[in-house]
């Protein structure tokens, strides 16, 4: 439900960044969404599509990568991806924060991100060799 407000934060951030870089266009945006964020990639994408209209981001490609949840147990040192239980009767996966090794409480060690990790910008050309020169 709050994907629209998240998408508008993403768009505002990118418009600022593009302005600072004096970009002509934004071509690609890489977004990482953790499995533990209550964010639907599809809804973020939908909102993004609406919000970028008539901005420097119009026409940009939004690439969303889902980051799996990782957990850590400080009691026994267990480190793993979060175990998801398929409960078919409910049609969703239930994360459990109980350590499968020792039964203590786990803490989250990843999968809670909502991060712009990379942006591809087109900057004003400076010469005939300008196009498609990629820099890290």
């Amino acid at each position: 439900m709050h994907e629209f407000s998240i998408a508008s934060m993403i768009v505002d951030t990118l418009v600022d960044l593009a302005k600072k870089q004096n970009a002509k266009r934004v071509l690609e945006v890489h977004l990482q969404i953790g499995q533990l964020r209550a964010l639907s990639a599809e809804q973020v994408r939908f909102s993004y599509g609406i919000l970028v209209k008539r901005t420097i981001l119009d026409g940009s490609k939004l690439l969303i990568e889902e980051v799996p949840a990782a957990v850590h147990c400080s009691a026994c040192g267990y480190d793993s991806k979060l175990e998801l239980k398929d409960e078919m009767s409910y049609h969703f996966a239930l994360p459990s924060m109980v350590c499968p090794q020792c039964g203590m409480a786990l803490s989250i060690n990843g999968g809670d991100e909502c991060t712009i990790s990379k942006v591809t910008l087109e900057l004003p050309g400076t010469g005939k060799n300008g196009r498609n020169e990629r820099e890290g």
Binding site: M1, H2, S5, I6, M9, I10, T13, L17, Q21, K24, R25, L27, L36, R37, A38, L39, E87, Y90, F92, L94, P95, S96, M97, V98, M104, A105, I108, E113, C114, T115, I116, S117, K118, V119, T120, L121, E122, L123, P124, G125, T126, G127, K128, G130, R131, N132, E133, R134, E135, G136
Partner: protein, 232 residues
């Protein structure tokens, strides 16, 4: 006459340089920063803040009212009420005689740290021990937006059926205390508070789960103790 080698041709301006910029911009960082600011502001005045979240109609306002009623002799309390619209809940709370600020989110489905910052500007923090922040009724979105509270209380009720916890695991993962409310209706609903409590324990073994009924006051004192609000 100008030399042809001067860099002023139109073709160049159509051609852009393509750059990849690697970065790590956390979209939720601004809310987290403001939440931390709220927390520091409250800590500086030794004020406890409780974020009360839960489904629509689960009894968040009733439970807050019951806690105020029991705490107001020993603590100076204020309430921030979040709702999409109306001041119905704020009016109910204000009847307890504590300062109340209503936040109407308009369209947003949750409170955020910025709205809390604005609400705190309207409260005289010098004469306060405790703030209850009642979030918008919603078991999904508020989990994503920390406000700067000390503890998060999630309120659900047996009238919402037996699967409320399992269907909203994210909300319970961040909860410190969970109240299973309206237990006076559990039998009529055929819903087991013990089963709901076991579901919470599976998702978040750190959370303290308490069965409550605001109608007869059951469990209210336990919730107060679990939140660390009892002053002797």
């Amino acid at each position: 006459m100008r030399s042809v080698s001067e860099p002023v041709d139109v073709v160049t301006s159509d051609e852009g340089k393509v750059f990849d910029i690697e970065l790590e911009v956390n979209i939720l960082a601004e809310n987290q920063r403001l939440a931390l600011e709220n927390k520091r502001r409250l800590d500086a005045k030794s004020i406890h803040a409780i974020d009360v979240m839960g489904s629509v109609g689960s009894g968040k306002t009733s439970l807050i009212k019951a806690m105020i009623s029991s705490l107001k002799k020993s603590s100076r309390i204020a309430v921030i009420e979040g709702d999409v619209t109306t001041t119905i809940d704020a009016d109910l709370i204000a009847s307890e005689g504590v300062p109340t600020v209503q936040i109407n989110t308009g369209k947003e489905c949750h409170l955020d740290a910025n709205l809390i910052r604005k609400a705190l500007d309207r409260i005289s923090l010098d004469k306060l021990d405790l703030i209850f922040i009642e979030n918008v009724g919603n078991l999904i979105c508020p989990a994503e937006f920390p406000l700067g509270s000390d503890k998060r209380l999630v309120v659900i009720s047996v009238t919402e059926g037996p699967y409320m916890v399992l269907k909203h695991p994210m909300m319970f993962m961040g909860a410190d205390v969970v109240a299973i409310n309206k237990t006076d209706l559990a039998q009529a609903m055929g819903v087991s508070p013990e089963k709901l409590s076991a579901d919470v324990a599976k998702i978040n073994p750190r959370a303290i789960t308490i069965s409550t009924s605001c109608k007869n006051g059951l469990g209210v004192g336990e919730v107060i103790r679990a939140l660390g609000l009892n002053r002797s």
